[in-house]
Symmetry: C2
């Protein structure tokens, strides 16, 4: 079994062999630019790992892995327009480097190209893969819509937040794994288990993101922590804090998070973190992450095969939990 780094290398080699730049170049340049920005390649790696788990080989899943990475990058490209994010991975986002029209249209093309690669799976597997990929794409859009709606709402319940991140993040990790499993000829039961493994892994992944934004080691994190607090972003941390706080702290948090709050950024972050600390938000979030991780591992363990074959997926789970970026 190959480790995460090796899977990434195989994937990047396969991706490099594909030719994305063609006429009209104005349409394809932003696609190549986006793919060249790199990233964790987590979704394709999971797809390849799941295929290898069930079939012993990754090669049949390479095209689907490219399709999944194209889809993920398409969502980033369009999300950056909607969220007005000027920078991604240290470089200008497509709508900033070119313009919104270019970002909309090259994103649409990237979505269609994702289907082109998904369409290369074995004929007998295509109906199931097509259905799962499509359902996932719709769910990811629903997640982004909830995310945008939540930004305009004064309060969001924890269950709503968890459902939003399930849709926006977890289902794509889950589908990447299940598509790899289907291509690797897993039984329906095992494919469903690997899906639930990915869903729980995805929940843990997003909560870890929330946690890192507030509590990461700033040097290793590579950017300033506390950005979610500065931008009033709804995260697991603030939602939990508002749930647990006494009336006085709740009122103060609401005040600090109001768009009209007049307080210097660093001061706001310190004050919010002080309340988080009092309420033990860090350890509550860590416990929630551990809980999702435990559920993920239970699903993986229920798959009936030698434990040694599951090493890659266990290592990825461990890596995602221990990451500091």
């Amino acid at each position: 079994m190959h480790g995460l780094e090796t899977l990434r290398t195989y994937f990047n080699q396969a991706l490099d062999q594909e030719q994305f730049l063609k006429v009209p170049e104005g349409l394809y340049e932003p696609i190549e630019y986006t793919l060249d920005l790199g990233g964790k390649r987590l979704r394709p790696a999971l797809c390849l790992a799941a295929c290898e788990l069930f079939s012993g080989t990754i090669s049949n899943a390479l095209n689907a892995a490219i399709g999944l990475e194209l889809f993920h990058n398409f969502t980033l490209l369009h999300d950056d327009i909607m969220d007005e994010s000027p920078i991604r991975r240290g470089k200008p986002t497509v709508y900033k480097k070119w313009d919104s029209s270019r970002a909309i249209l090259s994103g649409d093309t990237m979505f269609a190209k994702a289907y082109e690669y998904i369409g290369k799976v074995d004929k007998e597997k295509l109906p199931e893969v097509h259905q799962l990929f499509t359902q996932t794409a719709i769910e990811v859009c629903e997640g982004q819509q909830f995310d945008m709606e939540f930004e305009d709402r004064p309060a969001v319940a924890k269950d709503e937040y968890l459902e939003m991140i399930r849709l926006k993040t977890a289902v794509l990790l889950a589908a990447s794994l299940k598509i790899g499993a289907i291509i690797g000829k897993a039984s329906e039961e095992d494919a469903q288990r690997i899906y639930r493994f990915g869903e729980n892994l995805g929940m843990a992944f997003q909560l870890k993101d929330d946690l890192l934004d507030a509590y990461a080691d700033q040097v290793k994190f590579g950017k300033k922590t506390g950005n979610d607090i500065v931008t009033n972003k709804k995260t697991y941390l603030i939602i939990t804090a508002l749930e647990k706080a006494n009336e006085q702290d709740k009122a103060r948090l609401s005040e600090l998070y109001s768009p009209s709050a007049k307080i210097e950024k660093d001061e706001k972050v310190s004050e919010v973190l002080a309340i988080f600390d009092k309420l033990q938000i860090k350890s509550i979030t860590e416990a929630a992450i551990m809980n999702y991780q435990r559920k993920a591992i239970e699903e993986l363990e229920a798959i009936n095969m030698s434990g040694s074959r599951k090493g890659t997926l266990l290592a990825i789970t461990d890596y995602l939990n221990k990451r500091e970026v």
Copy 2:
């Protein structure tokens, strides 16, 4: 065989039975709104007609027809953002009624929903239909990119223009027909013929659009003619005129079409039309339309079956040529 009106009715009945509005409503409302605006339903009607031509029944093609109409409406939704069009079919466009983010995201969802319906075709037909639909989606994006690029260019050659409208308009009509034919179990040769029929029909359709914008009976047309001239849009008419004009008329047309031209709208339209008349642009365009139509009918005639079965597609060809809107 059913006529165009009957096919439209069947299609609209099938579409009405589908439930598009679900949670989050903010995402699905713009989709329902767009579908409720109506339209010619030309692509689904062509898909149903082709399926009936080869199999004697339309029912197997209804889901694919919905997928094609969803895709077409998704492209309109995103094009309206890029072209900053405030009105479509007499109502505010989605990005005007809601905002750009909503239009981008509900458009993306509509594209994914299109694939959901395409995914409902028979398992053994799915690989071919998936491939054709995806290739077509990519080509339509390429066509839109060329269209936008041409707007910023001083000159566009006729061949470039024809390739742009082939990509932006003709291939989707062609694919709608071919997908219907594949579902209707046409031979590969006949499916390819019906594709070329659609491609030529699509070229004639777009040139007819260009012609109507300048020469329609304004009362029947329902809106002011000459809009393409006012907005300096590259059309078959102006491209042909610039090709055929003497130096003096060419210079004057370029002057009138320059963004800095200082001339009242109606006056500009009259002066441009006067030059068009002198150069016989109307009859040249009509001849080009007839030529594409003739090629379309040749492809249809080459399909080896009783001519009486081809009545619907011949009638649609005739209707598109004679339309005044």
